[in-house]
């Protein structure tokens, strides 16, 4: 956390290596959020680049008193994802659950047998497909809690809603995912 603050100060001082290091530390997490939210690798890459360009341009607006850099970054990423979702909602074709399968971005778990690896891959694909079916509010809450492991307070800061609302969204998101996965299994 203090390391991030020090890097931000150096970035604002014009030190490009500090920006490069900041990028290398946080790029993968932001890409993961974008990928979980969109379900598409190429789209997630474009969104990641746009998010970091926005972060670079608005870095001086970051206030350490209001939270960690990671929280601020997640907020910028989330806002950009929501804007993107609203912009592209009309272009998005409503597809069935089976059409959303086939995201092969993730590596199969090492050390497991071939059957287990196939099952794991199928499970990941189904999970992502089910995630795509959630509403954006529940989806972002579940991603931040169960994929990024943020606590409720931090998620509340990122989403700009009370903690109670965060808990409610996460719970409903999980219930919906459970029902969707059960349907896919059957």
């Amino acid at each position: 956390m203090e390391h991030d603050l020090d890097l931000v100060k150096r970035c604002l001082g014009g030190q490009n290596p500090a920006w490069e290091e900041l990028l290398r530390i946080h790029a993968r997490k932001v890409y993961s959020v974008c990928y979980r939210f969109t379900g598409r690798g190429s789209e997630a890459e474009d969104l990641t680049q746009e998010i970091f360009i926005k972060v670079f341009q608005t870095l001086e607006t970051y206030d350490a008193a209001q939270g960690t850099f990671s929280t601020w970054l997640n907020r910028v990423a989330r806002n950009h994802l929501v804007d993107h979702y609203r912009r592209t909602r009309k272009d998005r074709v409503t597809s069935s659950l089976e059409d959303e399968l086939g995201h092969l971005e993730e590596k199969p778990s090492a050390g497991a047998g071939p059957v287990a690896r196939v099952e794991a891959r199928e499970r990941k694909e189904m999970l992502q497909a089910a995630l795509d079916k959630l509403s954006p509010d529940m989806r972002e809450a579940v991603i931040l809690r169960d994929f990024q492991d943020l606590d409720y307070e931090e998620i509340a800061q990122v989403l700009g809603v009370p903690e109670g609302t965060v808990k409610s969204r996460i719970n409903r998101g999980r219930l919906e995912l459970a029902r969707l996965l059960k349907r896919m299994d059957s």
């Binding site: 490009n16 920006w19 490069e20 990028l23 290398r24 790029a27 993968r28 997490k29 890409y31 993961s32 990928y35 690798g41 997630a44 890459e45 990641t48 680049q49 970091f52 360009i53 670079f56 971005e105 993730e106 590596k107 499970r123 990941k124 999970l127 579940v142 169960d146 994929f147 492991d149 808990k167 409610s168 996460i170 719970n171 999980r174 219930l175 995912l177 459970a178 029902r179 996965l181 059960k182």
Partner: protein, 232 residues
Amino acid sequence: MTHLELENLVSEYLEGQLDVTRRLEFEAHVGTCPGCRELLVGVRQVIEYCREAEDPELAPWLVAKILLATIGERQPTLFERLAGFLRPGLQARVVYGVAMTVFSASIIINAAGINLRQFTLADLNPRTWVHRADRTGHLLYARAEKFYYDLRVVYEIESRLRQLHQQSGQESQGSSDQPGQPSKPDSAPGGSTDKKLPDDLQLARLAGVADSLPGLEGPSPDSVHGKRGTLQ
């Protein structure tokens, strides 16, 4: 507890955030309701799957692309530019060659007596180099010679040899002065040229030569007559 209430508390139960009373109620309902039990298992599985899922791999070119879009093409630092310029010259053979050149030049400059702080055009004349190198060589030789002879062990050995030489010279001179014994042949007819013999021995030698010549007065008549009688 109703089904709806249980649904609303599933996440809190799984994360251990329910108080004791609510937790007991929850577990009691789950124990009696297969549907809610299945729901609980399903939600637990979702949490496990989500947390087991690894972050997707980031394309390696994406970071470079973002850097290009933000700070532009990365300009090499001054150190990197210098390192790139010096890199071909940092090979071992080049470094060795340069070092030997500098070493050789310093030897030549030192031998030629060139003072770089007071450099003049005359210092570039090869005759000057030869002259100075010759002078330096002689100086070095003289110093070495002085150093050698100043060594205590050398001094001791030389003085000892000198003493032995003197003793042997005295002994041979003493044996040659006794009568009936052949005298030691002198290197010159006028007498001995050994300057290291004491003066009294030299006088004695000269007296012996004088007595052998006629018309010369000796110190005592008896010795003279005896010798004269011998001579006649």
